[in-house]
Symmetry: C2
């Protein structure tokens, strides 16, 4: 499975080789526009695809052609207008998104035409951006271009920084990961393994359990859909868990907390299992676990760590190049896949980092 | 109120001046014995008072006369046999407790007869202990003897170490404290104030609100019984809260979490508002708060920090002597008050650190 997917990725990447300057200036710009503010998971019908214009870059700006659009669980949070960590996307505007693209006109001295970059391009063909919207100035890619939107993008960087800074796994410790085959989780598991830990995964299908073991090197993994999580965890967590890296919240989190050793760290990196926070969902009280197990439970948002991204990307790039980190990508071709992509992600239909290729 | 209580304490302390060696060897030992394992809050009828014998100290041990028995919320946890951080007290044995006492026979070179100490004496007149059961070797007290069981004992040390190590308040930040007039909370509030913070308290009566302001220097305090906590907090938390020091858990915790600033710290030091954890109580899910506010939520148990206790006690002793920390004590005289004391504590009947004087 893994090998077949890697081949598919390589084929897709070949398409982007055609994107070498000079380019014709485009005369139309397909844009995915937010139409309704969903309170739950945004569906295809909450968006429309429109023909927008291609703006000219001003002083210090550049015109960038998007190639790989990123689809991220966090996008759901960028749409809702309650209780979040960034201003919500305005109705009628281009959906906020990260993407890998290539500079086709530059009025900024640090960026040359033909440079690749990863940043806030939105779900559209062309974006005019300034350097502050660039997360990674790739230049010319050292590995497959799509990787810069996934394993070297927000997902991999989140895994690297959240695990190293908040999880702080020590050699010989046990690390438990939810969505362990996902774009963040799979990197967390492999980093923890590379750093000398025993790694345990929680995922949502038997195929993904196999993927965890075969592709991502987990020592054990469970499918949370087949039997109660607490029972399944009891079978694989002998000796207890020292770091729990959580991407889901909810009952999986509750069960995982109760496997933790004294002084364990919990990294709260996402809450993907909770479809809506309005009304506020309830669950068992966990404050006694925090106290008696002396947990340190921390929330992680990558954008707090912008200064550390370049060093983290470099470290990850080397680990990927040296074969220490495998990654899976699930790439659809065509912008028409974007509107339904967030819902598809939350349904668990993807296998690996979900991207939309629009570089044709 | 505060002044009157301080006078009462001084009178009580005078009684202990009579406790100077040489002592007669005692021929009986009143002991408070645990009779039933309460799942909720232990009541007077869960204990009995018995006449035990006075054992002779062995090699390296000492015989200690207890003077001030400590009553602590944590004692409830020492009785229940589920989900806790120390082995439960055995049925039929002396109730585990801290106390201040005086050495009346010593077979240990570091402890002289007449030395005062604070340690694991249990609820009884006489205990034979080794040095490993001593938390503080007081020697001769520099301030009122009772203080060594409260503001310089487990409560004050917990406040000092949990706030400084896990809360990490910075000059100019806002610190919110639950049970803000209590034995731990009142010290947390005063330390935070001394370290340059704005301090806010949550307590359970209008008298205690007044005490918070007048005796403990809080900038504002609320009585959680008079109106919804969230509404009351909204009135005093403009600018947000940077450190929440929680001793109660439950709905007060839930409301407090929702006042926190980005990167706030939560110190989980107790869960006194939850009468029982069997069955597991439920509440609103808080993982989204941890994530979006990038909280660091840590559990604190003083016994993990034994190495740091001597330095913390010295720092606190100086702060108390120099008048930077006020404290209130609620002292009953006579061991017959012990069996009902934990229930009384949870009912909020006390005003300040609850002690039982048995040095008569």
């Amino acid at each position: 499975l893994a090998k077949k997917q890697f081949q598919k990725i390589q084929e897709k990447n070949r398409m982007s080789d055609q994107l070498i300057p000079p380019y014709n200036l485009p005369d139309s710009n397909r844009q995915v526009i937010l139409r309704h503010r969903a309170t739950g998971i945004p569906q295809a019908e909450d968006f429309s695809i429109e023909q927008g214009h291609v703006p000219a870059p001003g002083d210090g700006e550049m015109l960038v052609r998007a190639i790989y659009l990123s689809v991220d669980p966090a996008q759901r949070g960028w749409i809702v207008d309650t209780n979040n960590y960034s201003a919500p996307v305005a109705i009628g505007s281009v959906m906020r998104a990260l993407a890998v693209g290539v500079v086709i006109r530059s009025n900024h001295q640090d960026f040359a035409e033909g440079d690749f970059l990863y940043g806030w391009l939105g779900w559209q063909d062309y974006a005019v951006i300034g350097p502050e919207q660039v997360l990674s100035h790739i230049g010319q890619p050292k590995i497959a271009l799509s990787a810069y939107a996934g394993v070297l993008g927000l997902n991999g960087l989140t895994a690297y920084l959240a695990l190293s800074k908040l999880g702080r796994p020590k050699d010989g410790e046990t690390v438990l990961v939810s969505t362990s085959a996902g774009a963040v989780g799979s990197v967390v598991g492999q980093l923890a393994k590379h750093w000398g830990c025993r790694t345990l995964g929680i995922t949502g299908s038997d195929d993904k359990v196999k993927q965890c073991i075969d592709s991502f090197g987990y020592d054990a993994a469970i499918n949370y859909k087949t039997a109660p999580v607490a029972e399944q965890l009891a079978n694989i967590t002998e000796g207890g868990v020292d770091v729990y890296f959580d991407n889901v919240g909810g009952p999986i989190l509750d069960a995982s907390l109760r496997t933790l050793n004294i002084n364990a760290r919990v990294v709260q990196c996402g809450t993907a299992s909770i479809a809506t926070w309005v009304p506020l969902p309830t669950g068992p009280r966990n404050e006694r676990e925090i106290l008696t197990r002396r947990l340190v439970w921390s929330g992680f948002v990558i954008f707090d760590h912008a200064d550390e991204i370049p060093a983290a990307r470099e470290a990850l790039e080397k680990l990927v190049k040296d074969g220490h980190i495998n990654y899976l990508e699930d790439i659809d071709a065509g912008i028409e896949h974007a509107p339904g992509a967030i819902a598809s992600l939350y349904a668990g239909d993807n296998s690996g980092k979900k991207l939309i290729y629009i570089g044709e």
